[in-house]
């Protein structure tokens, strides 16, 4: 269909990049998981899946109310999506034959840009465009020429740091496992794969936590 616009794949035998298909696999896994969960929800006889997801939901809602304040539960939908997507995307690479989509710089960049857009849009929704931009000026109007470049640079650095943190952790974890697989093929890479699993979960949590902190800073009301 894109051939109508004279856009052709670089390699006709493999038109879709690995990370695109892996992202779709992650999305399908999540959809199937939630469909199965939804059919097994029960208030008086909760099953294992319901317990696990109640744990995850309570954890996310508790952290977001701690970071954002009393209205934190409004944003849990986005945080939950980001957390579960990045978690499953990171862990997918452990299975032999699959690659983490977060191992390629494009996917973490997409997640970071989504988080950036989300916290700015939420800030604008809470305060209105004028007042939200006025926050960039800082506490005193006299400091404006100093504060505006500092605030702009720090805001631009946020999606950059989110991207690089997630991408570099996943990429480096896989590279280290490969290096040790080349050196000692038998037992040693297991330690690095175990570390990679731990780092995957931690990085998903940190990405979500930082997004919560940014949303909290954007919608904060001065008392």
């Amino acid at each position: 269909m894109l051939g109508l616009f004279n856009v052709h794949a670089a390699n006709a035998a493999r038109p879709w990049a690995n990370f695109v298909t892996m992202q779709i696999v992650v999305a399908l896994i999540l959809v199937v998981l939630f469909a199965v969960l939804r059919s097994r929800l029960s208030p008086d006889r909760p099953g294992k899946a319901q317990h696990i997801f109640e744990l995850i939901y309570n954890f996310l809602r508790g952290t977001s109310e701690e970071q954002i304040g009393h209205h934190g539960s409004r944003y849990v939908a986005f945080f939950g999506t980001i957390f579960l997507f990045i978690l499953f995307a990171n862990l997918l690479g452990i299975i032999p034959g699959f690659e983490s989509p977060t191992m390629f710089p494009y996917v973490p960049a997409g997640c970071a840009l989504a988080a950036f857009a989300y916290y700015n849009v939420m800030g604008v929704k809470e305060h209105g465009v004028g007042k939200y931009l006025a926050h960039f000026v800082g506490p005193m109007p006299l400091l404006a020429p100093l504060m505006i470049p500092i605030e702009l640079i720090s805001h631009m650095a946020r999606p950059l740091s989110l991207t690089i943190r997630l991408f570099a952790n996943m990429y480096a974890g896989e590279q280290v496992t490969l290096v040790f697989l080349g050196l000692v093929p038998l037992v040693v890479p297991v330690a690095f794969m175990g570390l990679h699993v731990f780092v995957s979960i931690l990085q998903a949590y940190i990405f979500t936590l930082l997004t919560m902190i940014y949303v909290g800073a954007a919608v904060a009301h001065e008392h």
């Binding site: 989504a114 857009a117 740091s161 690089i164 943190r165 991408f167 570099a168 931690l202 940190i206």
Partner: protein, 101 residues
């Protein structure tokens, strides 16, 4: 609902931009300064990161020892601090990988 979605998509499309590549040249006397600098920068970054994370963990352990009931909050602060320190080393790693091909 659909105006929010439209606004979100618009902001995302604005940020799409092409990726530029640079041509690599081989130095005449075979001294690849890029590789040497890459090695030194990674070593310095990792060494300083080790020191900083050691200080963070030491402070967290002492805090938990003095006040075990605050363990959850201290553990949270420790984890956040460790990840942020580590991400600085990762920036160095990524900029090294961009140059060393």
């Amino acid at each position: 609902m659909s105006t929010k979605l439209t606004l979100l998509m618009l902001v995302l499309f604005v940020f799409a931009s092409p990726i530029f590549a640079q041509a690599q040249t081989t130095p005449a006397n075979n001294l690849h300064w890029v590789a040497v600098t890459a090695g030194f920068s990674m070593a310095i970054a990792s060494g300083l990161c080790g020191l900083a994370q050691a200080r963070a963990v030491a402070a967290a352990a002492e805090g938990m020892a003095r006040n075990p009931s605050a363990s959850a909050a201290i553990r949270f602060a420790l984890l956040l601090g460790l990840v942020l320190i580590e991400s600085l080393v990762l920036y160095t790693l990524v900029s090294m990988l961009l140059k060393v091909v």
